[in-house]
Amino acid sequence: MPDENQKLSSSGPNAGTHRVVGQPVHRYGGVDRVTGAQRYLSDITFANAAHVAFATIPVGCAAIDAIDTSPAWAMPGVIAVVHADDLPQPVARFGVSHKDRPVIATKMVNYHGEPVVAVVAETEDEAHAAANAAVIHYTELPGVYGLDAALAGDAHLVQDPSVRPRDDLNSTNVLEQVEYAWGDVDSDGISSPTIIEDTYTFPMVTHFPIEPGGIVAAPTDDGGIEIYSPVQHPYLLQRTIADVWSIPLSRVRVIAPDPGGGFGGKQTPRYEPLIAFLALKTGRTCRLVLSLEEAFQLMRRSGCRIHARTGFSESGELAFHEMQVDFVVGAYADVAPRVMTKGSYVGAGPYRIPRVSINARAVLTNTVPSCAFRGFGAPQVGWATESQLDAGARALGLDSLEIRRRNLVEHDEAFIRGDYEARSDGRWHESLEKAAELIGWHEPTPSGRGRGIAVGIKPGATTGLSQSLVRLLYDGSAMAYAGTSDMGQGARTLWKQILADELGVDLDLITIISGDTNSVPFDLQTSASRSTVFMGNAVLAACEDIRDRVLKLYAEATGTAQSELAHSPGQLVTPSGAIALVEAAQTALGGLRGEFVGQGTCRLWGEKGHPLGGDAAFYEFNATAIEVEVDHATGEILLTKHVTVGDVGTEINPLQVVSQDEGAAIMGLGHSLMEQMLFDDNGQIVNLGAIDYRIPTFNDVALDMQTASIENNDGPGPYGCKGISEGALLCTAGAVGAAVADAVGTPVRELPITAERVWRTIRDANRDSPV
């Protein structure tokens, strides 16, 4: 095994020497994002580009009988009209874990919005007009749009068994299933004084990035292709294009302009293989720019239904927790099986539970394929577990805080037991207590209001590889090549901060290069809040490599013994004292000038047999406390306070930590209070677009919102940091649900907790117990 560590370990010793790390440096590119100056994919012009539009059908499940392309060909400006029969046969299928998604709809339409015909034309309008003219003859099939329909004995199969031939489950709509259990999992015989049993649902929601996205593909002179796509994983896209069209990696160049928001929705390739085919077929640069509506049909979070049965001791300790968890994953696998396994792995929460049984399934339906989304399955399952804890607390006369105090694991205590146990990597009670303090838990709840507190946990990356190159140039400026996609989270700013400290270079003299597979070394992906830890360590290592090289060349140039030299962040220590690294570098390089190039790698190896492929590099832990006022006549909820506290290790940039936490907290209000994709009986999305799919606005944010962090410098990333970008969304629903239940006396178990649902809950409770 190489000398890289099996587990990532903290670089803590450097803590305390920072000048720029730890400062609230403003995000590079932030002003451009808010003024509109940033050049997103759709702002980039390409000479002589042709434009692509798709034809779709207004149902979620159909057999394609025939396609008449002649009306499309007859339209002005048309260059190509392509459907499945025009592709190399059999039509290629691709995917991360399951190669099930065809390049274009093949014989079947499996969800509303799946492209059936692609038109290439001289202008965008001409492409859309021609796509509109194509005639698709189809026979609607009895598609399955919800869990009950999909799991029925005679259900229509979303995927023909031939697509998954070696799969025991291929005669069902269950794509994958997993079971986690420890302790005596048969709880029937356990006498627990308080047992809570209920069913919870979590809606299908879409990522709603402000930039919907798009793709440009350009054939190159050497038979290769360049793909422009604002993706989170340029190297995955490169590999997919190479695999699907049998092109060597060296001739597939992916250029990824900074995405305008990703949230997990821009990880995996979808239409890129098709646009690449169109470019190769026509010899033209082909450009597709998606609408918001098309983005809805490209990305969503899996919905979820959880049946839970939980036992508590008299004093409120968890005795057992059983869950059947069904994820509504959609028509193709994407990374949904991983969402299911990872989300349900931590489904029992960060608690001390002697007996746990979790059975989870990823269920195919004729809906938009679900994919990664901030929280990665944890918010769905956590909604049920947190609600169960609160139901137990109400039954036992405890409050939200007290029941968590009694069950939350201590530092280094196992919360997942069995063969592959997982232990707390933080002091999570500190986050819980801080959240309670910030919301004023010890003070009486104002009249007419309700309060709730919840916790959430999400495993970070379990394997990973990030590589970086850093160049220290003669004039004291520097460049870092780091493949992390900066989609608004501020990755570039962090690399600049690390370079500034480690090389002693001014922030403004640093340039970050990313998003181009031809020039930037390999990075596995921008996901799972990994980048600060993984790429951060790689950048840090590259800076140390540069300091080593400066030391060696300085020794050679000045005739000093290497043993008499040492380096530290920003400095070379010589027998006559410390000098700035940049000055030492200039002396070392001499009259010919030149530069130093450092390389850094961060690799986390997995663990064979582990259900997640390895233990997480770190856990994101968050405590959220919410106070609401409920209008009992209308069911409307007013958030009066919203507090989140994350266990972050170390804040490399406190301003960016706050930004990420606030963003996540507000996003969490979406699925908690208002967001849901709704389908009609034919599988069409009925609230397709911004008018009837509502996301929170700043008017929907709590009157008082605060985020805070616990810093124990105990993470595996640079200076003891952990990843932080998802935490504040993990348990928003649980906290809102508990607060609403506290205010109205009865819980709502379906998300989103709309005014109408609250009104219905109050009305039904009044019916059941007339005053």
């Binding site: 859309h128 208002m674 009837d692």
Partner: protein, 282 residues
């Protein structure tokens, strides 16, 4: 594809509409029209932009007993006008919740009625003041009560060769009070789930304008005089009045929720109108 023209006079507008043979659509703010055009980009619409027409009535004209709104009266002007806030408070309040600031800077009152959405925010308020609408076309001008203007969702009595030239809102007598209430799915920009404007005259007779509970915005008859100090009396009067509501279930709400909410909002609108402060709320 849509074509575009920008006439300079009302008669040129009417000529453009006549030439469009039923495909003409008037553009002022465009906040509804552009959304419709985007939904059906290949419809052969003729967009007639009247922002440069020089003989339109003024945007807002306040007379002794009536406020007249021309086709260019924007929501931002209406919601910010102190005279309207004082004399037509339900109208001011309803204009204040249309869309967002950016939308209110473009959207017009006349456009709001011509779009003929059952959820049009300003219509319930316009109803309770007894507003009239004046159209002009090849046959000259005609004026009808606004109540008669709406036919169904998206449908009005404005002919394909006509334009709405004015909305007249009578200024109520002293002692008349009014307020507007609206329920939405979120606190930011949103379409109404249910909306209610209440007008209460000096004799304590209540008239309600109702949004989103029928194929068009609705207006009730006037109730008999109500004891406004008695909540039960208000509830009883409201119960009678809102019986004209025929809400449906849709993506925004179920029918039974709308039925319940129109009652809640109506009572609140009456109470808000008659509160000591003469309050305006939304």
């Amino acid at each position: 594809m849509a074509t575009y023209c920008r006439p300079r006079t009302v008669s040129e507008v009417l000529a453009a509409l006549a030439n469009a043979e039923g495909r003409g659509r008037i553009l002022v703010g465009g906040t509804d029209l552009l959304v419709h055009l985007r939904k059906d980009p290949f419809a052969p619409t003729v967009v007639v932009d009247i922002k440069s027409v020089n003989d339109l009535p003024p945007a807002v004209e306040i007379d002794d007993d009536v406020v007249r709104f021309g086709p260019t009266a924007r929501m931002a002007e209406i919601s910010g006008d102190p005279f309207i806030a004082g004399h037509l408070p339900a109208l001011g309040a309803s204009a204040r919740v249309v869309g967002s600031i950016a939308i209110r800077n473009r959207a017009t009152l006349v456009g709001n009625i011509c779009n003929a959405s059952p959820a049009a925010d300003t219509v319930p308020a316009l109803f309770v003041y007894g507003s009239t609408v004046t159209l002009t076309g090849p046959g000259g001008e005609r004026t009808l009560p606004l109540v008669e203007f709406f036919v169904g969702p998206g449908q009005t009595r404005c002919g394909p060769d006509e334009i709405v030239i004015r909305i007249d809102v009578p200024i109520p007598d002293r002692g008349h009070r009014s307020a507007f209430q609206r329920l939405t799915r979120r606190r930011g920009v949103d379409l109404a789930t249910v909306s209610v404007a209440a007008g209460v005259d000096a004799d304590a007779r209540i008239v309600l304008g109702l949004g989103c509970v029928g194929p068009t915005p609705l207006v009730t008859d006037a109730s008999p005089p109500v004891d406004l100090t008695d909540p039960a009396a208000i509830e009883g009067a409201v119960e009678e009045l809102v019986s004209i509501a025929t809400p449906i279930s849709d993506v925004r709400a179920a029918r039974d929720y709308r039925e319940a909410m129109v009652r809640v909002l109506a009572v609140r609108a009456v109470q808000s109108a008659t509160a000591a402060s003469g309050g305006v709320s939304s």
